[in-house]
Each structure stands twice: as structure tokens, then as C-alpha cells.
Amino acid sequence: MNEEKPTTKPENTAAAPGAIAPDMAAASTDPGEPVTPEGTPLHGAARLRALGKSLLVAIAFVLVGLLVLYGASRIFEPKSNGNVGGVHAAHVAANGFLGEPKNSLDALFIGDSETYSAVSPVEIWKAGGAATYTCAIGGQNLTYSRTLLERALKVQKPRVVMIEGNSLFKPFDENKLLKSTIKDMFPIFERHDRWKALTLRDFFGSAENDYVDDMKGFRMKWGVRPADDSAYMEPTDNVAEVPELTKSVLAEMRDMCRAAGSELVIVSTPSTKCWYTSRHNGAQAAADELGIEFIDLNTGDDAVAIDWDTDTRDWGDHLNYAGAVKTSQALAHILSERYGVPDHRDDPAYAAEWNRAVRHHDRLVEKGSAMAVVGKPGDAITIMELPPLYNPA
């Protein structure tokens, strides 16, 4: 402590370097009024002119700022939808629909890790010839689902958009919603990390969506950790609440789909950990309120015949490849029977693209089956994930 004489007066620590500038201290005789440089208050027309000038300066400042944000966003936007520097691999897969031929997809599946583990568009194609895509990243929020939907509807006209039921029960606050809206307006906020990987192409090139994901957003995962399904979908009258903010975003997505001639449907993929009857009840109630369909693959007529001893890779949380095959085949059936999605397998416009995807897919299945290991509950099993990113042959 310093050796100053004790004093009862508080030290004015406001008088440190960086203290307030002269214009603050020299406020006019009537604070709040515009003044001349000498300090005499302005009146009447002169005062209005001064206020008007301030307003114009403020508007100009904001406009130039928005321009700066816009310019930065253009530079930071990836110029390819493929694996460019600074973009997370998961996002590349989820956005892979950008590389698909325009207006070629019949259905989109949007959701989180439940979706990308359970829904394989290639299996759906094999079972019924529908062209679909899975747009999902791990832990995806409904706000990002909305972003993906908006992006997709610019280049695709699917008949059906299936949103994962799990998304209804991942709450978010206004902060997240606002951030998501701003990120959609100014991609710099989402892409800023690309500063580590910017190239000349980012500054001077234009966007080319030249990357095609042969797995169509699906993540092929192997390994078996059986689930305890003793309490799975036990009946109850409880209704899990879907937050108001979630419902309002869903309503927005429903309207976006309708404007594009699509139908939004809530679909819950099989999971013993993430899905239970109260959530079923909550999702049904929300779907009724929003006037959209709800299909539950866990229970009732649409239940998929999952064998919880062999079809899950993490004790019931997510399905493995075996479970995905069953789920995808069920979805293929639903798409064609209920939504009239045509069979494109003989359509030359689709054949080359999708047959190549099937070949690639089958090669990976062979590889995966050879490497997969079966274990008992509690065993530390190696789950092998095949990388979703690769160049088409």
C-alpha cells in the first residue's frame, strides 16, 4: 500500500489517462441542445439542420458498415461446397445438396445426429428409386435447420421435407434465434474462422458448387452396443412441452415449404434414449397445432422393426448401419405410398449419378462389414466410422 496520509476523501480515480474528452466537460449551458463550436446553443432552423446532419451522418455510418459486412461476407464465403479450408467437414456433408442437379431431389431429411445415423438416401434409392438428401450435423439446432432449409429451397423443389422429431426438444433462446438470423444475412459470422485458410480464389473467384457427396449426407457407422429397451415407449399421458420459440420457427419452416410447393413433416427416427412416449405426445400436439403431419417410426403403425440387440451402436442413442437400412427402407415405402414420390431408377437423368453413388456405397458397406466388431454391453468396442468425404470415382 502507498504511504499517503490517511484521508477520508475518496480519491478521484476518474482522473486517470483516458479520462473523458473536453467536449463532455464543456457541455452547453443547456445540456441536450445542439451548439455552435463556441458553445452557444442553436435555435430554430439552425438547430433542426444540426440534428438533421447528425442523423444523416449516423445513417451513412451504418450503411457503410453494412457494406463492409457484406463485402467481408463475399470474401469469406467458400467458393466451393466441397472441402475448402476453414469449413468443418460436418457442414460440407450437410450442405452437399448444393452439388446436386437443380430441382432433382424428391425429399429432404433435416435433423441432427439421429438423422444422419438413421437415414441413408442411397438405401432409399435402392428400395424405391426416390432421390433424397440428408442435411444434418451433430447437435443441430432448429435454427440451423431453418438455415439449411432456406438454402435448399433456393435450388431444390422437394415434395416432402422431413424434420427430425428430436429437434423439437432441443430448446434455444432468443439470443440463438437472433444470431441465426444475422448469420443468414451476413455469412461472415458463420465463416469468419476461414481467415486461417483464405486463398486468392476467395478474394477473386466465384462460387462453384462442384462437390457431390455420394453418401448424400448419410454417415455410415458400424459397431454394436445393444440397448435396454425394456422401458422403450412405455405408455403415459404425459406431454413433453415443445417451447413456443421452437413452434414459431417450425411455423416459419412450414410456410417456407408451402411457398415452394413442399410439405413439412415431422419424423422421429428410432431411438430408445432420445425418444419416449411423452415426446411422442408433445410432438403430436405440436404437429396438430401447426397443421402438419407427424410420423413416428418408434411406435404405432409406422414403427420400424428395429432389433435393439443388433441395430444400435451406442446403447440405443443412435442406429448403426443395420438399423439405418431398415429405417431407410421404411421411409422409402412412406415416400412412395403416401407422398407419391416417383421411382427414378429407370430415369436416365438420374441413373448415372445415383448408380455411381450406389456402387461407391456398396464398396464402403463391404469394407465396413469386414471391419465391424460385435461386443457385449459395457465392452469398449471400436466403432469404425467411414469418412463421409471422398472424391467420386
Binding site: M1, N2, P6, T7, T8, K9, P10, E11, N12, T13, A14, A16, P17, G18, A19, I20, A21, P22, D23, M24, A27, P31, G32, E33, S54, V57, A58, F61, V64, G65, V68, L69, A72, F76, H88, H91, D173, E174, N175, L178, K179, I182, I188, F189, E190, H192, D193, W195, K196
Partner: protein, 534 residues
């Protein structure tokens, strides 16, 4: 909304508050600030706003009570022909009781919210030593935001009224705004009534100059927190959470980077707070003054968290040193130990109270008490060694004002600071001691240059070369700014004199820098302002 750094706060709440404030008539502007402050508090702490209201009403009521007693005393003294001293003493006793009641309410709330479990565990430990075990179940309460900060401000108001430094305020709105002003509420600065109360009520207009300077300062603070502090967290957190996995070299680097992180986080938040104050025409006190240029540990605490230091000095150190028991101790010690060491013993007793208080204020944990006493020991030792150091320097003909000696002092102080912060951050005193031991005994410089630093933390989360580069660049920039400020130059004033295109370019550059280099988004875990936990 969790802090000043939430998107919704910066993009929605603050601009709305400023706009409403600017449009409001001058006489109503204080009310706009008060409503905004309560909305902010409620948004963060919900029903715990009741604690703030109780504190506000308590100091308002107690202040008025003290004011009344002061008036009565003054008229009694004036009217009396003799026995004025007795009258003063009588009133002083009454006033002390009233003030104590007010302080008890405020600090009692603070103790209940923050220290209940700590005190209980200390008591349990002490009783356990004599074989008694109590099995009390204590409730766990989340603390209202900023309670450690506004409680000190409440205390300072009461003591200032008692001392006659400020008059008791009849205006409840002013008292409420003083205590609850939202730019200060999360992490201070801890201001005095005489400094800010009138400014808050003045309703200064939102001028272009203040808007520019305020937002520029906020951007500077955002840069420090989001570019440096949040980025370094990816390295610091795993090192402190799992220190046994790392050698002394990595741990030492962790301590250094934590010190940088803490400074950038806290001073960055202060920049945001002071910038916001500036927008509303309120000059809040500075909390930092280039602390890493300090030459001594004592000097450090005059440059770091300045308002806490001055609070402890004015409301603990001086009262304790001037108290009767300590004055008796000083004269006894003078007789026993001579004129040099005698007063030192007494001032050390006062210092002990300060440093114990400093440690305890930071948290209910043994490592915080240790942190406080660490500085106590160093500062007292410094005073003891001082005359010897002067003699030694004379003998060796070293000028203690030379650049070389000053550099040595700064370097030595930096080491002291970093070690102190190691203990501060460690997850318990045991961990701190273990980490310190590893730093000293298991130091391996090789791990700092062979790339192991990039392996710290979970895959894909730790620092890479780019991260280190941007941290170094921003720290270099801070060093330059610090050197300029150390010379007494007001950067705000200098920049205000620049032509408009240059001013705008600077603003947009900082703005873009924060957006581009900020450590936010999917690749980063969010980091709340660090001092808000205290």
C-alpha cells in the same frame, strides 16, 4: 442473454437502451437508465433482483438515518456551551450502530449467497479437529449477478455518509441507479457515490463524439476478450483441469497464458463497461493502468483492479491503521522494535486485513485466501528488504533508476504475478502447489518448442499456429497501446482529432477484426466473463 458479450445484448438491448435514452427528455433519462438496468439484472438473475432491491432500500434507509443523526448532532453541538466532545462521542456511538446495521444487511446477504458453504466447511473442519461432527444440510443458492461488486459500493456509500464525505441522499432513484447501473453491475468498476451518482442523474445527451469514443472503446475490449482471452481458454482450461498430464514447461506456459487471458478478459470487460458509460455521458473510474509495467508487487495492485485496491485501502486499511487497538500496538512495537520495525509491524497488521479481505472477496476457497496472503507476504517482505536493497545497490554502484534495473524489476514482478495467478486459477490449493512444484522441478523447455503445445486439449479444440500468431499480434498491439498510455497520452482525444474518414476506417477495422478473429462459433466453446463469478 448471459453477459455483455451476448449477441442479443450488443445487437438489440444496448442499441435500444441508447436510442430510448437519447430520445427521452433530459429529466427522464435517469429513469431510462434505471429501467434498463433492472431489465438487464432481471434477465440475468431473475427473482434474485430482490437481493439488489433489499440492498438498495437498506442503504437508502440507513443513509437517511445517519443523515438525521448527523443533523441532530450538529445542532446539539452548536447549541451546547460545553461537553461538545461527549455529545459527539454519544452520537458517534449511535451512528456506528446504525451504520453497522446497514452494513450487516448488505454483507450478510453477500455472506449468505457466497460464503455459507465455505464458512460451514471451515467450522466443520475446526470442529472436526476436536472430534465434533455436525451434519447440517445447507441450501445452495445461485448468487445474484454482481453481488460482490455492488455490495462493496453499497458499503462505501454508507461509510462515506457516516464520515460526512457525502450527504445522505433523499433521492431513492439516484441511490438505486448508483447501485444498479447496468454497465457496472457485472464486474464493476467499483465506483464511489461521489464519483458517479450526479453524473448518472445528469442526463447528458448522446453526442457523436461520445458515441464514437464509447463504441470504439467497447470494440477494443471486445477484441481483447474475444480474440485473445476466449482463444487462450482452449489451452488454459485443459492444462489446469488435467495438470498431471503435462510437464513443467507446458504448465509454466499455461500459467503465463492464463495471466494474459485473465487480463484480457477482465480489462476487456472493463473497456466495454467504460465504453458503455461513455455513451451515456458517464465517466466510470479506470480499473487498469498498464499493470504489467509494474516494478513491485505493491505497485501491481495500484495498477490492477484499481477500484478494489482503493476500496480496501479506504475502508479497511485506513480504518484499521487508525483504530485505537492498532495505535496502541504501534506505540508498543515502536518501544520494542525501534522506529523502523515498530510501525511496520502495525501496518502489517492492517495489511494482513486488507490481503485477507482481497483473497476472501475473490472467492470462498482456500486457494483464494492463499492468493491474498501470498501477496501479503511478498509486500511485507519487500518493505523489510527495502533498506538492505538500497544499500546493496549503492555498494555495487547500480543505479536503481537505470533502464536495466527497471527491466529487472519488471521481469521479477512478472514472475511474481504469473505464479500468483497460477495459484488463483488452480482447481484448489493442492492442485496449485502440485502445479508449482511441477513448474519448478519438472521444467522441460523442450516441450515448448517441439510442437507439444499444439497437442494440448481435445483434438480440434486446442491452439494451432494461426491462433498463436493472432494472439501474439494482438498482444503486441496492446503493448504499443500500453506504452502510449504510459506516457500519459489520451488515445481517445488524439483519435477524436483525426479526420472523419480516418476515424471511420479505424472503427470499421476494429469491428472487422473482432468479427473475423474472434474465438466464437462452432469451433469454440463459449466463455463467460471471468470476473463475473466473483
Amino acid at each position: 442473454m448471459t453477459s455483455y458479450f451476448s449477441f442479443i445484448f450488443l445487437a438489440a438491448f444496448l442499441p435500444t437502451a441508447v436510442a430510448v435514452y437519447a430520445i427521452a427528455p433530459r429529466r427522464a433519462r435517469w429513469a431510462v437508465l434505471l429501467v434498463a438496468s433492472y431489465l438487464f439484472f432481471f434477465w440475468l438473475s431473475r427473482e434474485l433482483i430482490l437481493a439488489l432491491w433489499v440492498s438498495t432500500l437498506a442503504i437508502y434507509g440507513t443513509g437517511l438515518g445517519l443523515g438525521a443523526l448527523i443533523r441532530q448532532r450538529d445542532s446539539a453541538v452548536k447549541a451546547a456551551k460545553s461537553g461538545k466532545r461527549e455529545i459527539r462521542a454519544r452520537f458517534a456511538r449511535k451512528m456506528k450502530i446504525v451504520m453497522a446495521a446497514g452494513l450487516l444487511v448488505n454483507f450478510g446477504l453477500l455472506a449468505a449467497f457466497k460464503y455459507l458453504h465455505f464458512f460451514a466447511s471451515v467450522i466443520d473442519g475446526a470442529l472436526g479437529l476436536v472430534g465434533i461432527t455436525l451434519n447440517t444440510e445447507l441450501p445452495v443458492w445461485a448468487a445474484p449477478i454482481g453481488i460482490s461488486f455492488y455490495t462493496l459500493m453499497a458499503g462505501s456509500y454508507l461509510i462515506d455518509v457516516y464520515r460526512g464525505t457525502v450527504a445522505a441522499d433523499r433521492n431513492l432513484g439516484r441511490v438505486a441507479l448508483f447501485l444498479g447501473f447496468f454497465p457496472q453491475i457485472m464486474e464493476g468498476p467499483i465506483s464511489r457515490y461521489g464519483q458517479t451518482a450526479d453524473q448518472l442523474m445528469a442526463g447528458h445527451p448522446v453526442t457523436r463524439a461520445n458515441l464514437y469514443a464509447g463504441t470504439l472503446r467497447m470494440l477494443w475490449g471486445l477484441g481483447k476478450k474475444m480474440i485473445v482471452a476466449d482463444r487462450l481458454n482452449a489451452f488454459v482450461k485443459p492444462v489446469f483441469a488435467d495438470y498431471t498430464a503435462y510437464d513443467g514447461g507446458i504448465i509454466a506456459l499455461g500459467a503465463v497464458l492464463y495471466t494474459v487471458q485473465l487480463y484480457c478478459d477482465f480489462s476487456g470487460t472493463m473497456d466495454v463497461a467504460l465504453g458503455m458509460g461513455r455513451i451515456f455521458g458517464v465517466s466510470l473510474p479506470e480499473n487498469f493502468r498498464q499493470p504489467f509495467f509494474s516494478r513491485t508487487a505493491a505497485g501491481f495492485w495500484q495498477r490492477w483492479h484499481i477500484t478494489l485496491g482503493t476500496w480496501l485501502r479506504d475502508y479497511i486499511y485506513y480504518p484499521v491503521s487508525l483504530s485505537k487497538p492498532l495505535k496502541k500496538l504501534t506505540s508498543k512495537a515502536r518501544k520494542r522494535f525501534g522506529n523502523r520495525y515498530g510501525p511496520l509491524l502495525a501496518s502489517s497488521a492492517a495489511l494482513f486485513c486488507v490481503w485477507f479481505g482481497n483473497g476472501l472477496w475473490h472467492g470462498a476457497g482456500s486457494q483464494y485466501i492463499f492468493f491474498g496472503l501470498y501477496y501479503f507476504v511478498l509486500i511485507v517482505a519487500g518493505s523489510l528488504i527495502e533498506p538492505t536493497a538500497v544499500k546493496v545497490a549503492e555498494r555495487l554502484r547500480i543505479s536503481r533508476e537505470s533502464a536495466g534495473y527497471r527491466a529487472f524489476q519488471i521481469a521479477r514482478t512478472l514472475v511474481i504475478i504469473v505464479v500468483g495467478e497460477l495459484f488463483f486459477r488452480a482447481e484448489g490449493l493442492d492442485a496449485g502447489l502440485a502445479m508449482f512444484g511441477a513448474m519448478v522441478c519438472d521444467f522441460n523447455g523442450a516441450s515448448l518448442v517441439d510442437g507439444s503445445i499444439f497437442g494440448v486439449g481435445a483434438a480440434g479444440i486446442g491452439l494451432d499456429g494461426h491462433d498463436l500468431a493472432i494472439v501474439l499480434a494482438w498482444v503486441a498491439l496492446m503493448l504499443v497501446v500500453g506504452l502510449i498510455r504510459e506516457r500519459g497520452v489520451s488515445i481517445t482525444e488524439r483519435v477524436a482529432a483525426w479526420p472523419l474518414p480516418a476515424r471511420w476506417a479505424l472503427w470499421y477495422t476494429l469491428f472487422l477484426a473482432v468479427i473475423i478473429f474472434g474465438a466464437y462459433g462452432t469451433a469454440y466453446a463459449p466463455v463467460d466473463p471471468m470476473y463475473a463469478q466473483f
